[in-house]
Subunit: 145 residues, 2 copies
């Protein structure tokens, strides 16, 4: 199937290294732009998901902001319908809201992830989004965007 | 003179409205992506400077991060040489460090500005970068980047 775009080199910021922890499914890359410290309390990462890649359900005690720089992806909060996110979208994830994000099955996704109030602690990682649940979100068709 | 690039429509995020306060010289546009609040404590703006535009010297009590999304600009801290900043650069501005930023004379600049620890208060605005001081930084030539 055609891809809407190829973000295998990410967008604007470096792609960084492959994420190897157990909280991501599919290939995802992370470049930390600002590390976690007690001066800014605001770690910032550039995250690039290949088609089909996504993270587990999780929560941030201090919240997180996503700035979508390219591609087409999904963002979902527990108990709510999935949202399709694309270039230029801004996602505000309130503290302790259970959610996940990632690419659609047929598109790359690149976003900047800004962890706010980081002094409140690290993300709490939960269960994966199963293949069954993910597939039920449907295959997004080319939008030409 | 040729422009390296035309960012009159900004980069990825909306250009927003013209900044009309007295702390900017030349035309600059701001689109707030995340407003200031007590939940995230992290207002985020997309800022687009036309060639020659820059802000006054200022300080942030909680610090600020700049993510450069396009163009070529200047960043300078008091008592230090100017730095040329371009697409993909990340600038960490420590709390209470006096500094300014803006476009070069011949290039647009677009950056995302992330105000960290915003609960510590608003920016303190100081004197302008005079035309004389700004011109002495020299005219940057096309880099082809």
């Amino acid at each position: 199937m055609d891809k809407v775009n190829d973000l295998s080199e990410s967008v604007i910021f470096s792609k960084g290294e492959k994420i190897t922890n157990a909280y991501f499914m599919g290939e995802t890359w992370l470049k930390m732009l600002v590390s976690n410290d007690t001066i800014f309390n605001c770690p910032i990462g550039n995250v690039t998901f290949e088609p089909g890649a996504r993270n587990n359900w999780h929560k941030h005690p201090g919240g997180q902001i996503l700035l979508v720089t390219g591609g087409i992806g999904y963002y979902q909060e527990e108990g709510k319908p999935v949202q399709v996110i694309t270039e230029g979208d801004v996602v505000k994830i309130y503290p302790d809201v259970k959610h996940w994000h990632g690419a659609t099955p047929d598109n790359w996704l690149a976003h900047i992830a800004i962890s706010t109030n980081a002094q409140r602690g690290d993300a709490e990682w939960l269960e994966p989004v199963t293949d069954e649940d993910y597939r039920q979100l449907g295959t997004l068709r080319r939008t030409g965007k």
